[in-house]
Amino acid sequence: MLTITDLQASVDDKEILKGINLEIKPGEVHAIMGPNGSGKSTLASVLAGREEYEVTGGSVEFEGQDLLEMSPEERAAAGIFLAFQYPVEIPGVTTINFLKTALNEIRKSRGEAPLDAAQFLKLMREKAKIVNIDDALLKRSLNEGFSGGEKKRNEIFQMAMLEPKLAILDETDSGLDIDALRIVAEGVNKLRSPERAVIVVTHYQRLLDYIVPDYVHVLYKGRIVKSGSKELAFELEEKGYDWIKAEVAAL
C-alpha cells in the first residue's frame, strides 16, 4: 500500500529526515515512536504533503502512485488522512461546514455525487456517536477555543467521516483523559479493515493497549533505527531510549 524508500527531507536547509525506509501493507497497524524532535511529525507532514518541507531524496509510493507528485488535496482524495499533533484553529468556519465541503470535494474527485444536507447530517450523527463528540462542538468554529482533548477527538471524528485508506495519527493520545483515550482508540479500531492501514505516532504504550500494532518502529535523528513487534513498545516504556541511542552511537 505504502512504500517509503530512502526518504530525505529538510526545512530551511536543515536536514530532518535522513533516509526513511518503511513498507506498509493493507490491514496493518504500524506504531512509530522515538524521542522528541526525532522527525516523527515531519514524516507525517511529508506524507500529507506539507509544502514547507522540501523532499531532497527518495520516493514514496501509495497504491502504485507517486505520492510526492500529488498535492495535499489529491492525497486526501486518494485516501490519506493525517490527524494533526496540533490541530489548527479556523475561526469563522464551522466543523460541520468544513467537513461537508471536504467530504463532497473528495466525493467529487472520485466521481461520486455530493451528499445533500440531509444525507450529510445523517452520516454525521452516526459518526459523532462513535467518537462521542457533542453536536454543539461541531456547530462551533473549527477547533476554535476547543480544549486539547476536544481537538484530538475532533480529528478522529473527521477521520471517521472521511474513511481514509491510510490514517496517520500524530500523537492523537496526548492530552486525552483515560475515557477519551479509549473512545478515540475505539474510533480507530472501527475503521480498521483488511483494506485499510494505520500509522500511530505515540510516546506511550497505553494507546497501543487499545490499538494493537503489528509493528513498532523507533525513529531517531531522522532514521528508523529499530523495528520490532508490539513487544518493542513495552521495552521502550520500561527502559526509555538510552539503550537505543547507545546502539546507534556504537555503529
Binding site: A48, G49, R50, E51, E52, S71, P72, E73, R75, A76, A77, F81, L82, F84, P87, V88, E89, I90, P91, G92, V93, F98, L99, T101, A102, L103, E105, I106, S109, S141, Q158, L162
Partner: protein
C-alpha cells in the same frame, strides 16, 4: 442642468447651480433653497480637497475633478433592467433612484402610512416643509466639507423618511441607487433624510449599483436622526464599476438611549470614499459600526469614521475588515472624540486587514481625542496574510487550495456579514462576496 461638458468640474457645477436656480420659481424662496444657496457659497469657497488636506491625504480626487460629468443623463432603465440586477427575495419598501432621480414606477412602498412616511425629496420640499426645516442640513457639515456642501447645494432628489414615535416598521426600507452610465459619464447627488422618532425602529439599506462602461460619479449624503430610545439598522452596500467614483457621507445623530447599527460593505468600486459620522448626543446610547471591503485591481476604498461622544455613559464599537489584492489601496481612518463632559464613555475600535499582494497597500489611522479621564477606549489595527497552516489543514482534508483560500477569506468576513439583519440583503451580499473572493 447643462449637458455642456466642461473640463473643470467646479466651474461646471457653479454654472449648473445658476441655471437650476433660475428655473426654480417659487421654490427659490423656501428654507431648503436658502440652505442650498449657502452651501453653494461654501463649496465655491472651499473648492475640491487636495491631498494636502489632512483628511484627503491618501485619497486623491484630482482625476475626478478633471473629468466631465453629465448630472442629468436620461436613462431608459426599466423593469427589464431591474430583472437583470435583481436582489433575490427582496421584500419591503423598495425605492429606485436612477441617475439620482426617483423612479416611482419601479418602486413599491408596502408599509402602512401610520408606520412609515416615505417620499422622495422633491415631494417632501412641497409636502413636508416643517420636517425639512427642522432637520435638513442641520447635521451634515456643509460649512467645512466640500462634497457635503456640493451635495447640499444640489439637493433635489433622494428620499425623506419619517418614522413616527413608537412605530416599529416591520418591512425594511431598501433604497436602490442605480447609476446608468451606458450612454455617458453619469453623475448624481442623492440626498436622504431619515428621521426615526422616539421608541421607533427601522431597518434600512442603501444599495449602490452602476451599469455601463462610462465613468460615473456619485456624491451622496444621508442624514439620520435617531430620537430617544429609537433603534436603527443601516446598511450601505456598494457594487459599482471600476470607473465609478463614489463619495458618500452618512451623518448620524443619536439621542438618549438610542441604538444605531451601521454595516458598510464595498464589494466593488473604482474610487470609494465613505464618511460615517456619528454624534452621540445623548446618554446611554449604543453605536456599532462594521465595515468590509475587498478591493482588487486598481480599486481604492477609503473609510473614514468619526464617533463623537458628546454626552456621558454611551458606548461605541467599530470593526472594519478588508481583504486587498493586486495593486489596490485601502484607507481606514477612525476618529473618536470624547468630549470633556462625556465621562463613563466606552469606545472601541478595531481594523483588521489581509493584504494578499506586495503591491497592494492599506493605510490605517486611528485617532483618539479624549478630553475626559473617566473613560474606557481602545483601538487596534492588524495587517497580515492568510494563515498557511489553516490552508494546509483544509487541503489535507481534501479541499482544493483555491477553495480553501476562499473559505478562509469568507470566514474572515463572516462576523461582519452576520451583522446584516435584512436577510435578502445578507444573502445577496454573501453571494457577491464569494464571487468576488474567488476572482
Amino acid at each position: 442642468m447643462s449637458n455642456i461638458l466642461n473640463n473643470d468640474l467646479k466651474q461646471q457645477l457653479v454654472a449648473d447651480f445658476q441655471a437650476t436656480e433660475s428655473r426654480l420659481n417659487g421654490e427659490a424662496k423656501t428654507e431648503v433653497h436658502q440652505k442650498r444657496r449657502e452651501a453653494m457659497q461654501r463649496f465655491e469657497a472651499l473648492g475640491f480637497p487636495t491631498i494636502k488636506h489632512e483628511e484627503w491625504k491618501y485619497s486623491n480626487v484630482n482625476n475626478l475633478v478633471k473629468q466631465a460629468f453629465d448630472f442629468n443623463v436620461k436613462s431608459d432603465f426599466g423593469a427589464n433592467d431591474v430583472e437583470t440586477l435583481e436582489i433575490p427575495n427582496l421584500q419591503g419598501n423598495v425605492l429606485y433612484f436612477v441617475n439620482g432621480m426617483y423612479n416611482a414606477e419601479l418602486s413599491s412602498i408596502v408599509s402602512p402610512e401610520s408606520q412609515l412616511q416615505i417620499l422622495n425629496f422633491g415631494r417632501a420640499v412641497k409636502e413636508k416643509p416643517e420636517l425639512l426645516a427642522t432637520y435638513f442640513a442641520h447635521y451634515a457639515n456643509y460649512q467645512d466639507e466640500a462634497f457635503t456642501a456640493l451635495n447640499t447645494a444640489f439637493a433635489h432628489d433622494g428620499v425623506v423618511v419619517h418614522v413616527p414615535a413608537g412605530k416599529v416598521v416591520e418591512e425594511p426600507i431598501i433604497l436602490r441607487f442605480i447609476t446608468d452610465a451606458r450612454t455617458a459619464n453619469a453623475a448624481s447627488q442623492p440626498r436622504n433624510l431619515i428621521v426615526v422618532g422616539k421608541n421607533a425602529e427601522v431597518k434600512m439599506a442603501e444599495a449602490f449599483r452602476t451599469i455601463g462602461d462610462n465613468g460615473s460619479f456619485t456624491n451622496v449624503v444621508t442624514e439620520i436622526v435617531v430620537e430617544e430610545n429609537a433603534n436603527v439598522q443601516y446598511y450601505k452596500v456598494q457594487n459599482e464599476t471600476e470607473k465609478a467614483y463614489h463619495i458618500g457621507t452618512t451623518q448620524v445623530i443619536q439621542k438618549d438611549k438610542s441604538h444605531f447599527y451601521a454595516v458598510t460593505v464595498t464589494v466593488n468600486g473604482g474610487f470609494v470614499r465613505n464618511n460615517l459620522n456619528i454624534v452621540l448626543d445623548g446618554q446611554h446610547c449604543e453605536s456599532f459600526m462594521y465595515g468590509l471591503y475587498f478591493p482588487n485591481g486598481k480599486q481604492h476604498v477609503d473609510n473614514h469614521t468619526l464617533v463623537d461622544h458628546a454626552k456621558p455613559n454611551s458606548y461605541s464599537n467599530e470593526l472594519y475588515k478588508g481583504i486587498l489584492k493586486d495593486t489596490s489601496t485601502g484607507v481606514f481612518n477612525g476618529k473618536i472624540f470624547v468630549r470633556e463632559y462625556a465621562s463613563k464613555t466606552n469606545a472601541y475600535q478595531s481594523c483588521r486587514n489581509v493584504v494578499l499582494s506586495d503591491e497592494a497597500s492599506m493605510n490605517t489611522k486611528p485617532q483618539l481625542e479624549i478630553y475626559n479621564d473617566d473613560v474606557k477606549c481602545s483601538h487596534g489595527t492588524t495587517t497580515g496574510k492568510l494563515n498557511d497552516e489553516a490552508i494546509f489543514y483544509m487541503r489535507s482534508r481534501g479541499i482544493p487550495k483555491a477553495e480553501a483560500v476562499t473559505l478562509l477569506m469568507y470566514a474572515f468576513c463572516e462576523d461582519v456579514i452576520s451583522q446584516i439583519k435584512i436577510e435578502s440583503i445578507r444573502e445577496y451580499l454573501s453571494g457577491l462576496i464569494v464571487e468576488k473572493l474567488a476572482q
